[in-house]
Symmetry: C2
Subunit: 570 residues, 2 copies
């Protein structure tokens, strides 16, 4: 059990969460709740094998913090459509002046009263600031599903400290519609009195990274800087975190390997470095890259990424297949179908960030999955998974688990929220009232995409010799190479091939890196504005869809339609 204790210690030191009065959360930790909250259908034999870890987690971290693992929120699709996708997050002070303020005439409840309403049978109450709310009728609209119940019978503030996306005026206006009373004055502030900022130990980021959210940190570089480099410098590489960044010390680090058909291994960083070094160039792209364009069709749930939630680096590490074979992987075990990854970034219930990939990707030679400890020749920066991140080349960023703590060979996919109830695509008619996440496959390899990065949308560009320079990137998942980029300067009425493509030398089906492209567009005299459009073709001759209307999905993922910008000329 030594390794387990060490893991929890790492997580705690990383997040710097201090103890809260357990009375507020004690009601949540019954076996019944654990089953309800984490009893996914695929919590099978493997889940049982990991039971000891889950229990250790609950016993420690829930008492410390409590919290929900949903990364964002939604109401009914009708309510949802009222919300502005890009509303700013409010700072706590402003928040508490405007929402959850004491309302004369409402009944008064104590924290103990609230704690009695911690299940659907008893109605689900929560408190915030001076307010008490009955959110029972909202539960079915929460995109994180019943994980919202983790907050039942107590304050929502510890959750919102972790997921600042809740702290928006439009969200809180809807929240206030569930208001049923005022919290007893003596109890106000008790829930957060001993709570420190789980984001206190975040690494410093380059000022060029424009945050899509600050806690957890998610940021992208300016598009024009992004395409200056075939290999993105570490400090400009977009950052997509789902939880606070753990502060992992090398001498405390252990990677555990277990599961179907393997011997259990505990590997230090030095152990991992003993495997043959393998270097690949691979782009990593967020499933929600370019979401801010899809939003224009109808609102979606998720961070409002521009087109720079993608970057390209060289990654060095041990091949996952080498590590699994060192653990004696039994390839004749036909039950083993997935490889699950757990990060050392834990949510308040001590659930790690998690993901999985199909076993073939982990073991076949053309999979090239590596346990990376170097990024562009340097130790991984903290924001990118120090000391070890799994790089699953050609696969959506969310499966490239950072701060890798555990590898589990399993018959089932990861039961994490992000594998089961996030990062999946749906037909355009599916909304938050009708969605069934079990019906769609988790995104792995992603479709072909491209973007114009320079000039930027809306920019005024100076003509040189009657021409303008246009630059951008193109990328396709699954190791497919970009074979052609077409550009239109008349809004898509006519097209021509871009002359210059730049990429590393890897070929299909191991072309994991992106392709940069550039061209000059001739502009007829007297033209005042141009509508530029780009589309790319990959080595499977996949093309992009023309518009977002027919690929719209409620999560705003897979946002890969033609990229269109308008520029002015002078």
């Amino acid at each position: 059990m030594l390794a387990v204790s060490k893991r929890v210690a790492i997580a705690l030191s990383g997040a710097h969460w201090t103890s809260l009065p357990t009375s507020f959360y004690g009601c949540l930790h019954s076996r019944q709740h654990c089953n309800k909250l984490h009893g996914h259908a695929n919590h099978g034999s493997d889940g049982q094998k990991r039971g000891w870890n889950r229990k250790a987690g609950y016993g420690t971290a829930i008492a410390v913090f409590g919290g929900a693992v949903a990364t964002a929120w939604a109401f009914s699709s009708a309510d949802f459509n009222k919300l502005k996708a890009e509303a700013p997050v409010l700072i706590d002070e402003e928040l508490k002046k405007r929402f959850g303020v004491r309302k004369p005439g409402l009944p008064e409840y104590s924290l103990d009263d609230v704690a009695k309403h911690a299940s659907v049978d008893d109605r689900v109450w929560v408190c915030f600031n001076n307010g008490v709310y009955d959110i029972t009728d909202f539960i079915s609209h929460h995109p994180g599903g019943d994980k919202i119940l983790l907050g039942a019978g107590g304050s929502v503030e510890p959750f919102w400290t972790l997921y600042a996306v809740h702290k928006r005026a439009d969200v809180l206006e809807l929240f206030e519609t569930y208001r049923i009373g005022n919290l007893r004055e003596d109890d106000v502030g008790v829930s957060t009195a001993n709570m420190t900022d789980p984001y206190a130990l975040e690494p410093r980021r380059h000022v060029a990274l424009k945050p899509a959210s600050k806690t957890p940190f998610n940021g992208e570089p300016p598009l024009s800087l992004l395409v200056e480099h075939l290999i993105t410098p570490n400090e400009l590489f977009f950052v997509r975190n789902h939880l606070p960044v753990p502060d992992v010390k090398e001498n405390e680090y252990t990677l555990e390997v277990s599961g179907l058909g393997v011997r259990e291994l505990s590997l230090s960083l030095a152990d991992i470095k003993k495997f043959p070094r393998h270097t690949i160039t691979a782009a990593v792209q967020c499933g929600g890259n370019r979401r801010s364009e899809m939003v224009k069709v109808r609102p979606v749930k998720g961070l409002s990424w521009g087109a720079a939630a993608i970057s390209n680096a060289t990654w060095t590490g041990a091949r996952l297949s080498d590590v699994l074979r060192a653990a004696g992987l039994d390839e004749t075990n036909t039950e083993a179908k997935h490889v699950q990854f757990e990060g050392l970034d834990l949510d308040p219930t001590s659930h790690p960030f998690g993901a999985s990939i199909p076993l073939w990707k982990a073991v076949e030679r053309i999979g090239e999955v590596i346990l990376a400890y170097e990024m562009n020749g340097e130790p991984l920066p903290r924001d990118h998974g120090y000391p070890v991140r799994v790089i699953v080349p050609g696969v959506v960023g969310a499966r490239n688990v950072k701060w890798l703590g555990r590898i589990i060979v399993s018959d089932v996919e990861s039961d994490s929220h992000w594998q089961q109830n996030d990062y999946k695509g749906f037909a355009p008619n599916v909304d938050w009232d009708t969605v069934d996440f079990s019906k769609s496959p988790a995104i792995q390899e992603m479709p072909v995409v491209s973007a114009i990065c320079d000039p930027g949308d809306g920019e005024t560009v100076t003509l040189v010799d009657g021409k303008i320079n246009v630059k951008g990137y193109a990328y396709s998942g699954g190791g497919r190479k970009i074979v052609r980029v077409d550009i239109s300067s008349d809004g898509g009425a006519s097209w021509r091939e871009v002359e210059t493509l730049e990429s590393d030398a890897a070929e299909h089906p191991k072309a994991w890196g992106w392709t940069l492209w550039k061209t000059q567009v001739e502009v007829p005299k007297g033209t005042k504005s141009l509508d530029l459009v780009v589309k790319a073709v990959d080595s499977n001759y996949n093309t992009q869809p023309e518009n977002f209307e027919n690929i719209w999905n409620l999560r705003g993922v897979l946002s890969h339609a033609y990229h269109r910008i308008s520029i002015k000329l002078k």
Copy 2:
């Protein structure tokens, strides 16, 4: 050299070509011509290794027949646009009444005169019926490039016997514009006097197969029959032949294996059957499937396929990787990058039908390439490659070489016309005046596609309980599984997911088979017509393009936009 002789003998017995006077063709067989006609840039070290075979081929078959390997034709893109893509092929008798008739007032030439004009320097003359033509200025517009020179200085009739697509009124009208004279009366008919029909020994086909061309035979089944069967019955499986079907006898059959990093092997059918049997379900799709829809944007070159140039079967045979390893494949030989295939179907210059695939596809476990000798549990039918066809699952039909005679591990792709100058995609602005086939990759894995098969476009459908049944297929190349099919009954304004998908059990990245889908569409009372549209999503979340305009290409391949039909209701 025994194997070589046997191979040529098979080809000859298959095509039943008899000797022509060699004087007409002798001028073509100089080293200069061979270099010009077959000197592809990639005719490298491997080409030299195969030189003995090429020479044997020239020495025999050219003297027998002469001919061009271009499967079709084109003029300048301006001329080309005048042609109707679906004009019927004329029978010989009608042809000769209308074209190449004696024209009073033109100069008269003998066959010997014509033979003196067999190169661009001397001007290129050909004759047809009673006519003599100077086609020098047409050569650069021929899609098969300078292969047209194989006919220089003689009659075009032996070529047109093989490629009946030339025998169209619109083509011949253009041909007549190159007319310069009349052929001496004694010489008329000499070129074809001893020629027999190379298609005399074609197999019988099921009457349901609607021919897109008869010589070579290309036919597709009715869409409504096609989707009756998850596994297409052999007799309904679409047929795509590029040359006459060779009449291969099992006891004469030899498969030769050679090339970089392998020992030369000669395998009989019995030898191939000694390797472990492996069965896969795989769809085979022509690169030009659904071309007849793309044609509506602008004309393209190629057979006018409907949406049924795709079928699905189980294939049993030896794994190509097993055979290559039995030949001692040296996987450390980094020069070896491709595996070339040659068929036993030879063109008149004794060039076989040829194709190649990248080496990784041949050797990696997830490639699953097999040398199939059974189709749906029976010996391969002649039309599908008896006795052995390579099945390259997930890859365009043209690489699934039938009547497999030779496997060559090489540093370069096949130099065949079909690999180099056909089956490639281009940007919509590229026309026959600007195309450079060396700039695009040969199609291998194909993008996601779908089609509505029942009801058919334009049909009148009877409502049952206010509903209609709609059925079709969806498929994606590269082993990607169909994960969703969306249907619209309002021309694409709104969409919903189809409920029922049927496929074999294979999963990504080895989902080689197609998916059949069906649904019921509810029809509002009083509706007289419906515009149905279908689109599919594969396991990479690739989607189809909405329209053909922006994926149009001069060869009409990769025709995978949304499938749209209009039906009437009663």
